[in-house]
Symmetry: C2
DNA sequence: CAGTGGTCTAGACCACTCT
DNA sequence: GAGTGGTCTAGACCACTGC
């Protein structure tokens, strides 16, 4: 579809919108992604076909796809095709989990769901999620461990409207990362996230769960995660014990 | 023209390794950067000239420069030219300072040099800096404040061999960020850095300097910074008070 | 083998900056 | 106007994948 609009400006005049052709193509592709027309894991049409469809040269499509690939929305595989990025791939597993063991391999942690229930969004959460205050959210409390040793206590808020039918049971029985589940079961793909990290002291309850002393130092990590179109769909408040792990970051 | 073999014209420039032409060009450009042939702030030769010099098409040079620009080694400016990236520009100021005030603008902090002396590298520091244990380093201790309120206590190790003549006085009289000074005065440009963040408790001495309670929670940030060719040239251990600031990170 | 993305070229024109 | 990077095209061939 959508061949008529952009094509006019293709040949000579930059008529309708005033942006490079490849940016417009990029927008059209992003539109297909947002609309769920191409789902995570799907192969998208080949460069040649997209070029024909949009009536531009292959090079222009290529430049659009290049940028989307560098933004981790698409994945190119030589000889196979270009695919919608997915959290199921091992490569993307650790993009959102910055805690690395001080010693040993960064295996994926064990997860225990402590709680999963509906809750009205507190004002702050509602604001971050772009909801009306008091609107229904799913609240998940979770404990992550490595080799039986707990190290992360999480509180996760999700808009109920998107995550209908999410229960502790489905979370517990799933052995895949949360974001993989969100993607496959609820059609919501996390694209990027902002985190704010602080140092705090463990209160009594937290200390008990994480098996540290009361007053032990913890990382407090506030995350807002976004799906397509910069739409916020998750707020997460994590308390990380950094006795055996550190929060890894690359500045570049 | 576009005939027989791309590989032949690649062969005219020696092609001992089997990699795409533009990667080889990228390597040649990087070589000029590492050799200090083009210094930070300099304009590098135009695409057309580089294409002529290396006997490739402009498009190939362009692709090489595109990648270097995306790695923040070069900066393109339409109509002007392509320049070697520098820490003096405002845009790069905050790439390496992830602490953001909870309220207010992220102004650049005030800096007080507490100490600057020669010291033999402890084994751990030597290992990180790729030095022999006991080799001479410059040790800087520094306090950063915002509006008179201290919030970062830093220890910085640098190889003496590179930072000859670095004194507390030169640091104190300089009103530019450290990395700008390193670049302009010592010809060493920081390219990227790895950080490991943990939560710790303030000891007595630290608490006094940072004006927090003893046992207050602090971020401990261990940084190794690299210049060209992944050569480590700085180790930094920072203690951050997150009462008024947070460590900001974007996952993407 | 056909189909995909990856590289390379050559040349056109546009947008921006400086003089 | 001259010189720079930015966009776009058309066509060639290479490298990889899977049938």
């Amino acid at each position: 579809m959508s061949d008529a609009t952009v094509t006019l400006s293709a040949a000579s005049a930059p008529a309708p919108t005033f942006s490079p052709l490849y940016q417009q193509i990029k927008g059209l592709i992003t539109g297909c992604l947002e609309a769920g027309e191409w789902k995570p894991g799907d192969m998208i049409p080949s460069e040649i076909e997209l070029a024909a469809r949009y009536k531009v040269s292959q090079g222009t499509v290529r430049k659009a796809i290049d940028e989307l690939a560098s933004e981790n929305l698409l994945v190119r595989r030589q000889g196979k095709g270009t695919f919608v990025a997915t959290h199921i791939e091992a490569r993307t597993q650790f993009r959102f989990l910055r805690l690395t063991p001080i010693e040993g391999e960064p295996r994926y942690p064990e997860s225990v769901i402590l709680e999963c229930r509906r809750a009205r969004a507190p004002a702050e959460i509602a604001r971050l999620l772009d909801l009306k205050s008091g609107e229904s959210t799913v609240l998940i409390r979770r404990l992550l461990s490595r080799g039986g040793v707990p190290f992360v206590l999480d509180e996760i808020w999700l808009p109920s409207a998107i995550f209908k039918g999410l229960t502790a049971e489905r979370l517990t029985n799933s052995r895949v990362p949360l974001y993989s589940l969100f993607e496959s079961e609820f059609g919501t793909k996390m694209i990027r996230a902002d985190e704010k990290v602080r140092a705090v002291l463990a209160d009594v309850a937290t200390a008990q769960v994480l098996k540290v002393e009361r007053g032990a130092p913890l990382l407090s990590v506030d995350r807002v995660a976004y799906t397509y179109a910069e739409r916020p769909v998750e707020v997460r408040r994590g308390l990380y014990s950094t006795r055996d792990h550190f929060y890894k970051n690359e500045l570049s």
